[in-house]
Symmetry: C2
Subunit: 203 residues, 2 copies
Amino acid sequence: MKIVQVAFEGFTDVDVHLPWDLLNRVRREDWRVRIVADRPVVRSQTGLALTVHGGLEEIADADAVLFASGPATRALCKDAAFLASLHLDPSRQLIGSMCSGALILAAKGLLEGIPATTYPTARKDLEAFGVTVLERPFVRHGNIATAAGCLAAQYLAGWVIETLLDARTRELVLRSVQPVGEGFGFDDADAIRSLYAPESLSR
Amino acid sequence: MKIVQVAFEGFTDVDVHLPWDLLNRVRREDWRVRIVADRPVVRSQTGLALTVHGGLEEIADADAVLFASGPATRALCKDAAFLASLHLDPSRQLIGSMCSGALILAAKGLLEGIPATTYPTARKDLEAFGVTVLERPFVRHGNIATAAGCLAAQYLAGWVIETLLDARTRELVLRSVQPVGEGFGFDDADAIRSLYAPESLSR
C-alpha cells in the first residue's frame, strides 16, 4: 500500500507534518508513505525546507493521495500545467485534502455533485467551483474526502488507515497522539511499545 | 522575544512541527522562533531531514526553550557533553518539554522538587531521576512545564504565548488549528485573515 502526500512551495507546516506523522505510525513492510512535489525541495509557509521523496509522477500508482494546504492553492487550482501533472483515478484511489487543498480537488473535477469542506478563508473560492461547501471538519463521499482545520488531519489520516487497513489500527494510531490520559495513559506503556514493534500493527 | 525549540537526531516529527506551526502563527516583528540542534541537519524519527536555524548556543539568550521528544532522549539525558552545552536559566527563561523531552529537563536538575509529566513509555525513566510523575497532559510549576502526548503541544505552545504575550493571542492561535466548527467557523474568515495580517496580533 502506497500513500502519497502532495506538498508544494508554501505549504502549511502542520497540514503536511501531522498526517505524515500519523501515517508513519503504521509499521508494516507493505505500507509506504511518500511526500511528493513538483520540485526536489519545497519550503513551508514558515520557511522550513522539506526535501521530498519524489515527484508528482508517483501519484499515478498510489492507493491514497492527500493534498496539503496553504495560500499557494489559490494559484495552483488555476495552474493548468500543475493540474495536468496530477494523474488521479478516484475509481481505485482514495483522494483527500487538508483545508484549502480542496481547491485542487475541485479544479480536477473531483467534487462535482458531492459536498466538501475547506478552511473558512477558502470557502468562497471553493464555492466558485460550484461545490456545496459544508461547515464540517470532515466530509467524505465514496473515495473522496476533505478535511478542514489542521487538527482534522486526524480524521483524514484515520480514514485512510481504516479504509486501507482496519478500524483497530486507526484507533491505536490516533490514541497514540492524544494528550496523556485522553488517549493512552501510564498503564498503556506496554501497549504503546508493541504498537511500535516492527510489523506489530494489523497482523 | 525569542523562542528556541531544541531538536536532535531522531526527534518525533509532530512534537517539533506542531509547536513550531503554532508558535509561528504569532505575527509580530519582535517574535522570533528558532529550531536549534547540535548539528546543522537533524533527521526525524521517520527520516525527514530538517535543516535547523542555529546551534545550541542560541539557547542562552532565549526567552523560552522547548525540548522535543523521541527515543534519542534516553541517551541524551546521560550525555554529559550534550547536557553541558545547554545553558538554561529557569529564573528568567520559560523551559518546557514535549513527551520524553522531560528526561532532559530532569537531567539538568530542573525538575527537582516539582512534579512533571511525560509519555507513558518514558515514565519509569523519568521516575528514576526521582521526579514525581503525574498522569496529566500538562504540568507547570513556575517557569518549568512538561507536556505529554503529541497534541498536548497545544498546551505547551499556548503557555509560552500566553506568558510572553497574552491570553487573547493564545486563544486565537489555538482556535486557528482546531477542526472547522470546533475553533473557527465559516463566519470567521475575516477574523482569520486579520490574524495573519502582519503585526495584527497582540497589538
